[in-house]
Amino acid sequence: MSILGLILLGIVARLVLLPEGYGSEGLYRPGAVQEEAVRAVRVQENDSCRPCHPLIGKLHEQGEHKALLCENCHAVGGDHFLNDMVIGGMSSPCGEALDGSCMRCHRQMDVAVDPEIIKLIKGPDHLDKLRVRSDHDCDQCHHVHAPLKWVREARAMVGVSDGG
C-alpha cells in the first residue's frame, strides 16, 4: 500500500512539477529554447536600411565606415521600422553630439592601438595641425558616412596626393 501510494504520489508530483517535454533534450524545458530563439531582432543589419536610404547606403558602403552598423549612430532600427511600416523616427547626432559620437571611437588615449585598426586623434592637436578653427565640428571636413570623401576631393582639387 505504502509503496503503491508513493509511486502514485511520485507520478502526480512529476505531472504537476515538471513542465511538458522536460528531460527530452536535457534537464530543462525544451520550449524555453524556442522561446529565446524567436525573440525579436531589434538592432537590424544595414541591408534593412538600404531599400529606403539607397544614396546614403551606397556612400556608406564605399567609405571607411562601411563595417559599422547604421544603428551605431542612429538609434535602434526596431523602433523605426516594423512590418513594412515606419513606426518612429531615428536620431541623427549633430553639433557637439556628433563630435561626441565620433570621439567615442577616435579619441586618442594612452592605450596603444595599431593605427591600422583605427585612426585615433587628439581633438585640439588635430585641428591645430590642420589649421582649422577649434570650434569646428567633425562633419565640417568629414562626411560622416564616408569620412575621407571630401578630404580626397579637396586634395584632388588642389593637386595634393593622399599622403600629402
Binding site: G23, E25, G26, Y28, E35, R39, N72, R107, I117, I118
Partner: protein
C-alpha cells in the same frame, strides 16, 4: 532506552511504539526521496546522462549537439579601444534596464611596476573619456577588457539552479527559462564571472545569451556586429573558414578567465594581460 522512556514519560511499551513509528517515518521519507529522485531523472535516460557527462568532460564536444557546431567567442584585447559601442548595442537589443549590464568593458590602468586600477563607469556605456580619479600618475599601460557570459561547458549557474531554469542547450548556449526561474539568485552568486543579475522588473535571472536569437536566425551577436575594430569575434570553432577557428588554431597565447574554477569557458581572450581577473 531507559533514558528515552524517562524523557518520554511513557512506559517501555510506549517507547517501543514511538521507536517503530520513527522507523516507519524514516523509511517512508527515504523511500520517497529515492523514488522521487528516480522519477525526476528517468526522463533523461541513462544514455543521455552518460553522453552529457562525457561531453562536459571533453569541454563542450558535439556529441549531444544536433547542429554539430561548437560555438566560441573570442575577444582580442589588443583591438579594443574602449568605445563602449558594444555595450550600447547590447542595451538597445535587449532593452536592459539602467544600472544593469549583460556585457560591460573594464579599463585597466597600470601605474609604476604593479599598481593596477580597474574601473568600468556605467559598464563602459559612455566610453572612457577621462582617466580614473584614483589614478593621478602617468599610466605605464592602459587597456580595455570586454566581459560577458563565458558560456561555460561546466557552468556553476546550471549546477546550483534548484528548478532547472538555467540550462545548457544542445548548441552549448547557457540560457535562462524565465517561466521557470523563481528568482532565488543562487546562479547570480554562483557565477564566477559576475555575468548574471536579477532583472529588476521581471524578478528573474538575466544574462548575456551570446544573442542566441540572432545566431538562430543566421546573424552575429549584436556586440560583435557593432564593434568598430573587430575586437569581438564569434563563430563555429570547427568551421575551418571561421575567423575564430583560424585564430584559435594559431600558436598564439589564448587565455580564459579564472581557469582554476574549472568551468571550462567558451569565451577566449587574445592578448590578455596577467593583471586581468
Amino acid at each position: 532506552m531507559a533514558a528515552r522512556t524517562a524523557s518520554g514519560g511513557n512506559g517501555p511499551e510506549g517507547g517501543r511504539d514511538a521507536d517503530l513509528r520513527r522507523r516507519g517515518f524514516l523509511r517512508l521519507v527515504l523511500s520517497g526521496a529515492v523514488g522521487g529522485s528516480l522519477l525526476l531523472v528517468i526522463p533523461m535516460g541513462a544514455a543521455r546522462l552518460l553522453s552529457g557527462a562525457q561531453e562536459d568532460e571533453e569541454g563542450g564536444g558535439t556529441s549531444n549537439n544536433p547542429a554539430g557546431r561548437r560555438y566560441v567567442f573570442v575577444v582580442d584585447v589588443t583591438r579594443c579601444i574602449g568605445c563602449g559601442t558594444c555595450c550600447v548595442a547590447d542595451r538597445n537589443e535587449f532593452m536592459v534596464p539602467d544600472g544593469y549590464y549583460r556585457t560591460w568593458v573594464e579599463r585597466y590602468v597600470i601605474e609604476g611596476l604593479d599598481e593596477v586600477h580597474v574601473d568600468s563607469p556605467q559598464g563602459g556605456l559612455n566610453g572612457f573619456a577621462q582617466l580614473p580619479e584614483a589614478c593621478p600618475g602617468v599610466a605605464r599601460d592602459l587597456f580595455f577588457v570586454p566581459k560577458l557570459c563565458n558560456m561555460c561547458a561546466r557552468p556553476s549557474c546550471v549546477q546550483v539552479c534548484p528548478v532547472g531554469a538555467t540550462f545548457r542547450s544542445r548548441e552549448g548556449f547557457v540560457l535562462v527559462d524565465a517561466k521557470r526561474c523563481v528568482g532565488c539568485a543562487y546562479c547570480v552568486e554562483a557565477c564566477p564571472y559576475s555575468a548574471r543579475f536579477l532583472h529588476p522588473l521581471h524578478k528573474t535571472a538575466s544574462k548575456c545569451t551570446w544573442c542566441f536569437h540572432r545566431v538562430h536566425k543566421g546573424l552575429e551577436p549584436v556586440c560583435v556586429r557593432a564593434c568598430p575594430t573587430g575586437a569581438r569575434m564569434f563563430g563555429d570553432l570547427d568551421d575551418p573558414d571561421s575567423e575564430v577557428g583560424r585564430l584559435l588554431s594559431r600558436p598564439e597565447a589564448v587565455a580564459v578567465l579564472k581557469p582554476e574554477m574549472g568551468n571550462k569557458p567558451s569565451l577566449y581572450y587574445l592578448g590578455l594581460r596577467r593583471e586581468v581577473i
